[in-house]
Symmetry: C2
Subunit: 342 residues, 2 copies
DNA sequence: GGCCTCACCGTAAACGTTTACGAAAACATG
DNA sequence: CATGTTTTCGTAAACGTTTACGGTGAGGCC
């Protein structure tokens, strides 16, 4: 593997000159720069990242912290690859690379994160599975590690975040269902720790009451992620006394489980229970067609990367750097799973 | 950020001693080792990866080269996260981390790969989307970069690979369909360059003839990946003269498209066309139930990581290192999409 | 005490970069 | 020609590790 020293020797100049030539510094004669670049191309020189990192204190890597907690199918299974793709498309413009880190979930995740940042494995991080109280935020903020959250948290250190517009989704869904005659609307929420649970719950309560309906906590149902969660949800709802006529959810896998659960019970999705929530294009195979909210994951990834770039001191031009805090909106895809209540 | 030098200063010993203590070398007094470890824990010392990499010539990172070519839904969307998870579970035991690299597809991918290996970003790589003639194999083999292929290629440099047992899948599927009276069986294959196309095609031809059937190249249908591909496939088949009664596929998204396409035409999956191929647990939502072949992705990831570990000189104990070349078998999940032909 | 053997530890070099600094060369100006 | 200015380049230090090597002191043996 050819190093900068090899180049220097080969050309009869000093390593300093070679480095300056390669990095487009000003104080090098155009002629010698040419020679250096030519030789570099011929010998297939590529700068060693470790050397560079050590000297300049940054690695060129961006870490995406992924928690794969549950056993079954995860929400992320359908989401993340697309987001990664979008992120990388931006990062590439800055010579950065995406590193996906598989973090242990919840209790051990702080410890894991500490090790990661200590070793200086990445210049910046993206946090997902954000919790309502999220110690990771303090951990990173205290050490001045640039990061962006994909999701929100009540632990606020002024960090940037990107999130899907769950408020908008729930608001629109309730509006829509209400207009179609539904009066008892269930809401599927994720487990306690996750911030998303409260975002959905608060919006739900506000909107339910805005429409003059009574808030009933029995209609807020904690649901496990994945298709199993959806199946269980279907059974739970159908066994309720004073049964709701519609359900709203945020996990794109849930509708698959809901459809399966209902079918198992001999019921018809959209007719015996209106179903409305977030999904991906894969949902188009459901029959009857699922009315759902969709988001452009690739673009989301791009936006996350841009927010991250702003946090990197050596790349950011604006001063002070802008703190991006955005909810990216869903678009509605109409189907037949939320027909008017007859 | 505390470095080894800080530790040394704080304890009044030399940096050499500190390093040896931390790395469990033999020539350091137990008492001082204790002191060093205690101080390290107190000051929150974590070794800087760049320094270590530079010195020892390895980065502690394993790269997974992911090509995200197509626009629509990809096969990988349902696959990879699980595989990553399995890989990381093994890599963690060795202090390694997984880095997912988003490679541009096909023509630019060699160039990209060259840059990656030159910068010494990763100690070892996993290649996916393996092509029949795959220049990346030579590129890596020439430079002695350890790598494992997830998939196979005819470009053979003695590298290890892991692949799904597509031969077994196609063989079993034909056997099964034949036993149920099907005589004209279509096969969906991916695009030209990919090695998988030929694996499937060869097995198909052999098995078809073994059952005394005539090989008809019209029954081998190149199909775009994703749900769109599945829809198109359904239409294509149903518009054929001398129409097949069954179809075999390898993309886990295809059945979703097939079901949708058939439904659009007013046909019933499993009845008007037998459907049999690879899928994930998400397929359980299809109605009628999809008969399909499944694989434990997490375990596949673990196996890939193990194969990779064997290639790392500083970790491998056995000499010479074993070259893993395995096809991991599918298990059949019976459903109602391949009913006997009446 | 002289000598050898250990156990333990400090010194310094090396990995491949970037960059502050100063030196040399080239050129212009008086 | 002397001096000043600018352009170009070489030198060397620094980033944080690991490790080969040599040195110091303690202890054992005669």
């Amino acid at each position: 593997m050819t190093s900068i020293k090899d180049l220097a020797q080969h050309l009869g100049v000093s390593i300093g000159t070679v480095s300056r030539a390669l990095n487009d510094k000003f104080d090098v004669k155009p002629a010698t720069r040419e020679r250096v670049l030519k030789a570099a191309a011929e010998l297939g020189y590529v700068p060693n990242q470790a050397g560079r990192s050590l000297r300049q204190g940054n690695t060129g890597l961006v870490g995406f912290v992924l928690e794969t907690s549950s056993e079954g199918m995860m929400q992320g299974d359908l989401f993340f690859i697309r987001v990664f793709d979008g992120m990388q498309s931006v990062l590439s413009e800055y010579g950065l690379h995406l590193m996906v880190m598989m973090s242990p979930s919840s209790e051990k995740s702080d410890e894991y994160l500490q090790k990661i940042v200590g070793r200086r494995l990445a210049d910046a991080l993206v946090l997902s599975s954000t919790r309502r109280i999220d110690p990771r935020v303090n951990l990173l903020a205290d050490q001045n590690i640039p990061f962006v959250m994909l999701g929100r948290s009540q632990t606020d250190r002024g960090q940037p975040w990107l999130d899907l517009d769950f408020e908008g989704m729930v608001t629109d869904a309730i509006e829509r269902l209400h207009a179609r005659g539904h009066r008892r609307i269930a809401l599927a929420v994720p487990r306690q720790e996750l911030n998303l649970r409260y975002v959905m719950l608060d919006t739900y309560r506000t909107q339910i009451e805005r429409h003059g309906l009574a808030f009933d906590e029995n209609l807020v149902i904690e649901t496990a992620p994945g298709d199993n969660g959806g199946v269980a949800l279907a059974h739970h709802i159908m066994e309720m006394e004073d049964r709701p006529s519609a359900v709203i959810f945020s996990d794109p896998i849930h509708p698959f489980g809901l459809y399966r659960g209902l079918t198992e019970m001999g019921l018809v999705p959209g007719k015996d229970l209106a179903i409305l929530g977030i999904a991906t294009r894969l949902a188009t195979v459901l029959n009857p067609n699922l009315t759902h909210y969709r988001v452009r994951l690739f673009d989301l990834g791009r936006r996350v990367a841009q927010a991250l770039i702003h946090r990197l001191p050596h790349l950011n031009t604006e001063n002070p750097p802008p703190v991006i805090r955005e909810r990216v909106p869903f678009t509605l895809v109409e189907g037949d799973s939320d027909l008017p209540l007859e």
